[in-house]
Symmetry: C2
Subunit: 334 residues, 2 copies
């Protein structure tokens, strides 16, 4: 829809990325943007390098295209930072087609520095790889030094870069299912267009609504970010008060990964749902293992989404603290 493409181009202009109309393909959410990108660039047995932990649905999109994920390991004690040139390059093989990153990161909240972004862009360029950058959390960076980061400003990687984007997080409009692929690679544009034409269109009303959303006052983003920063600070400070919990302060998005002093976060979650009860309440998180490709990783880690209001998060952290204590004594026998 031209009105939506125009709105997206104007928005990208405000973050320093100039786009032509053909550079934007509207998709049914960031999810379809990723699926169509994978179907366009992967053949069976080709590989995509992805820092782990990562958004688990990436696996489905890569596998749907017959591809494989080569996980780039990170460490909780390093705050899950992955921008290490040697580690990344050591994973590149003749089958590698792309590096896929989320910046700011889900589930870790890692935000790349300007130098790290440039270094990863250089790797993609040097090895002639696609760099798929999922930037749907771009507005949510809690240190002002990051601004509103996009790989799109590195014009020397125009042929490598594929930006995955969406209105879901930017405007809290995940039910609209409106996203886009942004790329200046003409050959890829043509391949993506074939898939887009085969499924005809993205829902019409939602495209009209999304185009209107791009007209919101910039104050909206400032308020959102201030609110999420408050939630992050609250959750991190409460987690640090729970004995045995390890957590690094996330710099962006609205998630964090934490290690809990439990044997198995999945088992602990089931116990919380089935056996724990504090005045009728319990608490849920996302167990960490599914965010890893490497077997055995993330067993005692969890992803916490700080997307509820502060009062609810306060109560959730209280329930988590109580739950950990009781689980350790009743189930782990400590």
């Amino acid at each position: 829809m031209p009105a939506l493409i125009d709105a997206i181009r104007r928005y990208y202009g405000t973050i320093g990325v100039e786009l032509e109309p053909d550079d934007v393909l509207i998709t049914t959410g960031g999810s379809e943007a990723l699926l169509l990108t994978c179907l366009s660039i992967l053949d069976p047995y080709t590989e995509v390098i992805v820092p782990e932990p990562y958004y688990p649905n990436y696996t489905t999109f890569v596998h749907a295209a017959g591809g494989r994920i080569r996980a780039l390991p990170t460490r909780a004690e390093e705050g899950y930072r992955y921008a290490d040139r040697k580690r990344i390059e050591s994973l590149i093989t003749k089958n590698t087609r792309a590096i896929l990153i989320t910046n700011p990161g889900n589930p870790t909240g890692v935000v790349l520095t300007e130098e790290e972004m440039r270094m990863i862009a250089d790797i993609a360029k040097k090895h002639d790889l696609f760099l798929i950058c999922d930037e749907v959390y771009r507005e949510f960076c809690y240190d002002d030094k990051f601004g509103v980061p996009s790989m799109g400003k590195f014009r020397d990687i125009d042929n490598n870069l594929v930006i995955v984007d969406s209105v879901s997080k930017r405007f809290s409009a995940c039910g609209a299912r409106v996203g886009c692929v942004v790329t200046k690679n003409r050959e890829l544009q043509q391949a993506l267009l074939k898939f887009c034409q085969s499924r005809l269109s993205v829902a019409t009303i939602d495209q009209i609504g999304a185009a209107a959303l791009y007209g919101v006052d910039p104050g909206f983003f400032r308020e959102c970010k201030a609110e999420y920063r408050q939630r992050r600070d609250l959750v991190v400070s409460r987690l640090r008060q729970i004995p045995g919990v390890q957590v690094e302060e996330p710099m962006g998005a609205f998630y964090l990964m934490a290690s809990l002093p439990v044997d198995d976060a999945d088992k602990f979650q089931k116990w919380l749902l089935e056996s724990y009860d504090d005045h009728g309440d319990t608490v849920m998180f996302a167990p960490g293992a599914p965010f890893y490709e490497t077997p055995g990783m993330g067993i005692n880690e969890v992803r916490i989404a700080y997307v509820r209001e502060c009062a609810e998060l306060e109560r959730a952290m209280e329930l988590l603290a109580g739950g950990i204590a009781r689980y350790r004594s009743e189930v782990m026998g400590e």
Copy 2:
């Protein structure tokens, strides 16, 4: 969305097909229903038998999953009917995974008789193949003997059958992008569910609207059908008045295929757009070749969609008649 699944189940009840909630997976239009079905059941180099001419986007969905189309040839002079047991079985190989049909058919308007439906169901059952039946035009059968046909009533093929459905044609709501896959095969349900979960959801507002559409008065379908029947009758009678045009009366959907007395329908279409002008008007159709997998087929055929009002169709047929006469004299030199 439970309200939409309930509405779809009630609707299927009215056409004699009893569904459980798990039998229905909501998709972003019939297009996604087809793509996810192909991704779920096909491996590289496996084959799908499809009567040609067929909806060209089937090719993209099958190829996206690495599969191949084995075209089942039909003949214009037989009205493109394809329900021939020997011809179908002769195409089955060890790589065949599915038979894919559209009933009523796009682009041919062919509607299977009860006996033909049963015979195709028997082939799928005997050879343990999936039968993917695109039934999005189910309401548009112009002979009352067909009723509102669905393969879903043959309960002995529950494990083979995959129905592709959509609100696009039923309620003239193609911009909503709401469809579904209907299958009782539990293993396939699980595979489809993984893809559905990976892309999270179909657009929310559109699901709410689609659920409401299923509550329309049955009189709506009677009026629609009467209107389309009138359009079909008009277009067929006008086409038969054009010398050299061959057309069989389509029994369903809102398309027909016709052979024109021109050398190349694609070339003729370009000429109509660039060089023909009758009081400022010209006419467009879909050239036939892209509806065929077999090279060289459909060169002088066209698909006509009788989706405009009768007065516009009358004028379109007048323009086509005039265009054919002038093209034959000016371009073909006859």
